[in-house]
Symmetry: D2
Subunit: 346 residues, 4 copies
C-alpha cells in the first residue's frame, strides 16, 4: 500500500529487543502462570520504578480483561464503579463490567476527564439520599491516564480525586492503557510513584506501548486483594506461558525504558498538531499526548482517506467530522512527513 | 539446572517458524482484533483442514477464556453444561463457568471420559423428572479430546455422544487444548473433519501444541452464534493485536503441520511407557497420547524429583503416588534419555 | 398518629375482597408454584382483559424481581436494555439488572419518558457505528406506564416506539407497576389490549394497585420465552404458594375490577392538584395519574412534614424542594381533606 | 376431591392468627421495606428466642432467594459453597447459586447429611493442593436442618462441623426451611440459641412452617454483612410491603409459638411411620421429622395414588419406588386416618 496509517497505536508488533528476548529464551523450560524468574525480575523492576517495594504486580494480557478483573477484585457486590461517560469501560468493552455484575455509573466528561468536584457532588448526593440503600453504591472511581481524548490528569487533580475517594471510602483505579504516552508528555507531572501513592490499583499498559501485548497491574497494598491470582484465572485472564508477559515488562522496564519510550510519539504528535494549525487546520481539542483530533470537512476527510488511514472519531456538524490520528512508539519521521504531505494536498 | 523437566507441555515458547514470522511481520501495519489478512489466511487453512468451508473460526488467547466464552455463547440462561468430574472446566478453571452464571453438571469419569450411555441416562432421567423445571437443564455436553487423562474418544464413541445430544436437543463442544496429541496418536480415529461434522463447537489448541498461545474456535454452523465476536470482547478474550494469533495458526496450518506435529511427542511418550513397563514400573493407566502416568513409591518419587521435574497427579495409596510426565512438540530425544536414565537410578 | 400519609402508594394491605378470598381458601390443599386452579382462572381473566387468548401469564411477587427476570429472558448475553435515566431499573433497583449481567443504557428523560425519536437516533447511531461490535447492543426498550413521574405514554407514542423496535430488531417491555393508575386516568388512551399488541412483554402491577403483592407478567407470544418458569425459579422469584398470587389477580380481574380501581386515586390526585394550584401552590410538573409533585419552600416543607407524611422528590433550587404526594386505591376523602387542610395552614 | 393430600408441607395458607393480624392491620398506613414497627417487634422476638441480642434479622419471601442472597453476602468472588449433593441449592433451585456466580461444591450425602469428617477431608485436600489457586476455594458450608431427607444434625455434629469451618476459615450457613419440624422433634437437641452460636447465618423457615410465606435470616454478628439490605434489593428479594413478613414472624414468635408448632406434625409423621411399619410396609429410611419415606411396589403406589396425593421421591429398584408423605402444621387427625385407611386397602 502507498497509504500511511495513523489509525491506532497498536498496529505493530513489539520493540525489537522484546522479540529478541523471546527468541533467545524460546527453549528454556519455564514454569507456568507467572511463577518464573523473568516475571519475578519484571515485577521487581516495576516496583522500583513505582518506588513501592511491597506492591503486588500481576501481568494480564489485555485491557478489557484487566479492567474486568481488577474491578471485580475491588468492588463489593452492592457497589458500582464511577467513570466518565467516555471511559473505555463505559463504552467500548462490550459490557464486560456489567457482565461481571457491576454497574458503571457515568458522569459527563470534559475532554475525557471527570473532576474531583463532580465526584464529590455525586458522592455527597448519593450518601445523603434517603433511598441510597436501594441504589448501587459507588465503590471505585475509574479514570484513564491519558484519557480516551488524549488528555491528562494533573497531579493536583488526581490528588483531589484521591481526597474525595478517601472521604467517602471509595477506591481509586487508573487505567493506564496508554500510560507511556502520559509519561512521555512534557505536560505530565504524574509519575509512577505518584500513581502508586494515590491509587488502590492501576495498570501500566503494554499493548499500546511497545509490547506485543500485556498489562501490568500494580496494587500498592498487597493486603488489598489476596486472591487476585484466582480471580485472574476465573476471568480467563491468566496466561499459561506467563513468562511471555514477564519478558515484555522486564524489557520495557530494563533501564526504565518505559519512562521515555512514549516521548518520540508525543513529539511526533506535537509536530503534527503544530503543522496542521499553522496550515489552517482546526483541532477539535488540544491534547498533550499521542493522539491528534482534527476537524475536517467531509470532502477533505474523504480525500485524506485515500492517502492516510485514520480513525473516525465523531461527527462535528453536518458538514464536518472529527478524525483521530494516533502516533506510537513505532511511528517514523518518514511516516509523519507522509502524513503532513497528504494534508498539504487537501 | 541439571534437572530435566516433564512437568507440563507448555514450558517452551513456540515453533521457531512462528517466531520468525512474527519477526518478519513486526513492523507491518495491521488492523486490530483479527480483521487482518493473516487471520483470514489462517481461518481459511483451518476451514480446509476441517473440510468445513463455511465454519466460523475465532482466535482466542487461552483455554479457560475460550471455554467460558464458547459456553456462554452456546448455553441459554436456564441451562448448564455436562462434563466429566475430571473435566478441566469442572476442576481447574477457578469457577469461570459458574462465574458466567452456569452450572457444571458433573458425571463420574472413567479415565477422564464420559460415555454416551451415562449421558443418555442422565438426560432420560432429567427430562422425565417431574421437577425438571426447578432444575438446571443440560444444554451442552463438554468433552476434552484428548482428555485430562490423556485418553481418547473413538469416533464411534463421539458419534454415540452426538446421537444423545441430537435426541435431547443438546449441543456438543469439544475442548481440544491438546488436540495435536490426539491427531498425532496412532490410536486416534477422529480427524478434524469428524469434529467439524459432530460438534457444534470445538477448539484447536495452540498453547500446548507449538504456539506461543492461542486457541482456534471452530463453529461449523456460522448461524449458530452470530454475536460471538462481541461475546469474546465481553469476556476480555479479544486480543487487540489479533494478527499475532493469526500468525500462530497460519503457521501451524501451513502444509497442515498441525496434523503431524504432535506425533513425535506421542512417540516419545510411547517410548517412555514401554521402557518403564519393561523395567518393572507400574503405569497408573495407559493413555495413548503425550502424557504418562506412573505409580511410584513415595521415596522413589522424592528421589526422582531431584533429577526430573514432574507433576504430582494424585495419591494412589498410603505409600504411593501417581506422577504425570508430559512430553511436547519440543521434547528432544536427549531429554527422554535423561528421564529414562533418572528412572533407572531409582 | 394525627398525621396523614401520602408517602407512597403501597402503605396499606389489600382490597378487602382479596383478604376474604385468602381466608376462605386458607385450608384448601393446593399444589404449589402456580399450578393451581385459582392461578389458571386468574390467567384466563387477564388474557381476556388483554384480548390476547394465547398469552403466557406468569405471577411474580415484586417489581424488581420481575424486571430482572423478564429482562434476563428477553436479552441475549451481548445485549443491554435502553431506559430513561429516571427509569426504575436505572436508579432504584440496586443494580439488579447489572447483577444479572446486562447494561442499562440510559437516555435523558423528559418528564420520565423517552421518545421514539430519541430511541431511533440512538439505534441509528449505534447500528452505524463501526465499533458497534465492541459495544453493548440495545436489545430491549424498557418504559414504565405510568412513568416514575406519573406521566403517560400516549397510544401514538407507544406505537412509534414499537415501530423503532421493529425497525431495529429490539423487543419492547413495559413496566406497569402502577398500571391501574394509568388505566384510571381520563387522559389515558392505552388499554391492556394495546399493550398486548405492542409489547413483547409487560407486567400488570399488583403491589401498588390493590393487592398485597404480586405482578402479572404478560408475554403475548407464548413461543418467545419457553423457559420463563425456570428463569423465575432461578431468580428466586417463584412463590411456593403460588395460588396466593393467583388470588390477588383472580380477584383484581373479577369483573375487570383492575380497569377501574385506580380511578378514585387519580380523581383524588386531580382534586389535590386543582386545589393546590388554586391556592397558589406551584406544581413541579403536571402528571395525569396518582402522583402529585409540589414545589415548596424549605420552611413550608418542614412545616407540612409535621402534619403530613410525604416523600422528598428532589431539590428544586437552593430554597425549594419538590415533594411527592401519592394517592392510592385506599385513599379516602377524609385523608384528602386532611391533606388539603394541612396545606391551607402553610 | 375425595383424595387426601400429603404431597408437601406447603399446601395450605397460614395459621389463622396470622390472617387475623393481617386483616386487623390492613388499613394501617405502614412504611415499606421492613422499616415498620411490626418488623421491629418480630426481629426482637426472634433475637430473644435465639438468645442473641445483637443479631441482624432480615425477612425475605422465599427459600431460593434467601439462599441466593445469603450466599452472595457470605462468599467472596473466588469462593464456592460446599453442600451435600442432595442439598436444595445443589438440585432444586434452578442454578440460582451459579447464576449468582458461585460454584456449589457437592459432597456425597448420607441420608441428606454431610459429616465434619467429609468436610475436613475436603478442606485438608483442597488447602494442600498445589493447584488450589486455580480452583474454587470453599468459602461456606451449607447444611439444611432438617435435611431434604428429613434427618437432623445433632448438636455434636454441628459443633464438629463448626470446628472444621473455624479451622479452615469457612463460614457456616444453615437452611432452616423446615426448621419448625426439627424443633418439634423429640430427637432434636439443637435449639435456636445453638444455631445462633454456631452459624454465621441461618434462616428460620416460615413458608413451610405456618406462615403464608417468608423466611427470617439471622446473622448473629451484625458486622458480618453490613450491606445485606442492598443485596436483598439487588436479588429482587425485598418485599415492598415488608410488614406483611413482619406479621408472619411476629405472630409465629408470639409466646414462642414457633418452637412448638411443628410438634403435632412430627407426631403425626411418627404415628404414620409406626402404623406403616406395623402393617408390614417398608420405610426407605427413618427420619425423625415431618417427612415419611415409604418403599412401595409400583402397582401399590399407583393404587395409593387414587386415594392419596403423595410425592414421588425416587426409584428404588425396578419394581419399587420410594414415595414421600409430608405432614405439616395443618395436618389433621382425620387426614392421617384417611391416609392410613388408604394404605390398609393396598
Amino acid at each position: 500500500m502507498s497509504t500511511v496509517s495513523f489509525a491506532s497505536d497498536y498496529q505493530e508488533g513489539a520493540q525489537p529487543y522484546i522479540l529478541e528476548r523471546m527468541a533467545s529464551t524460546n527453549f528454556l523450560k519455564m514454569p507456568g502462570y507467572g511463577t518464573d524468574e523473568i516475571c519475578a525480575s519484571a515485577r521487581e523492576r516495576i516496583r522500583k520504578a513505582c518506588a513501592c517495594a511491597d506492591a503486588d504486580v500481576h501481568f494480564l494480557v489485555g485491557g478489557t480483561q484487566t479492567n474486568a478483573t481488577v474491578l471485580d477484585a475491588l468492588l463489593a457486590a452492592h457497589e458500582g464503579v464511577i467513570a466518565a461517560d467516555t471511559g473505555h469501560i463505559s463504552v467500548h468493552e462490550a459490557g464486560a463490567i456489567e457482565a461481571g455484575g457491576h454497574k458503571v455509573i457515568t458522569l459527563p466528561h470534559r475532554l475525557g476527564k471527570v473532576s474531583a468536584t463532580q465526584l464529590g457532588d455525586y458522592c455527597d448526593t448519593f450518601f445523603s439520599d434517603l433511598n441510597r440503600d436501594h441504589m448501587v453504591a459507588p465503590g471505585v472511581v475509574y479514570v484513564s491516564q491519558p484519557t480516551e481524548y488524549g488528555t491528562l490528569y494533573s497531579l493536583s487533580e488526581l490528588e483531589s480525586i484521591r481526597d474525595v475517594c478517601c472521604k467517602h471510602g471509595l477506591r481509586l483505579y487508573v487505567d493506564g492503557a496508554r500510560l507511556a504516552y502520559a509519561l512521555g508528555s512534557a505536560q505530565n507531572d504524574v509519575g509512577l510513584p505518584d500513581l502508586a501513592r494515590l491509587c488502590d490499583a492501576f495498570y501500566i499498559g503494554g499493548t499500546k506501548c511497545g509490547a506485543l501485548f500485556g498489562e501490568a497491574v500494580v496494587i500498592p497494598d498487597p493486603q488489598l486483594t489476596p486472591h487476585f491470582f484466582t480471580l485472574t484465572k476465573q476471568h480467563g485472564a491468566l496466561l499459561a506461558k506467563g513468562w511471555l508477559l514477564g519478558i515484555q515488562f522486564d524489557e520495557l522496564f530494563a533501564e526504565d525504558r518505559y519512562l521515555s519510550l512514549g516521548k518520540p510519539a508525543v513529539e511526533a504528535a506535537n509536530r503534527i498538531r503544530a503543522v496542521l494549525v499553522q496550515s489552517g487546520h482546526r483541532l477539535a481539542f488540544v491534547s498533550p499526548t499521542n493522539q491528534v483530533f482534527v476537524v475536517l470537512k467531509d470532502a477533505a476527510a474523504q480525500c485524506l482517506g485515500n492517502m492516510v488511514e485514520y480513525s473516525f472519531w465523531e461527527r462535528y456538524d453536518k458538514d464536518h467530522i472529527v478524525i483521530r490520528l494516533a502516533t506510537s512508539w513505532a511511528t517514523t519521521d518518514e511516516q509523519v512527513n507522509q502524513l503532513l504531505s497528504a494534508f498539504s494536498q487537501l
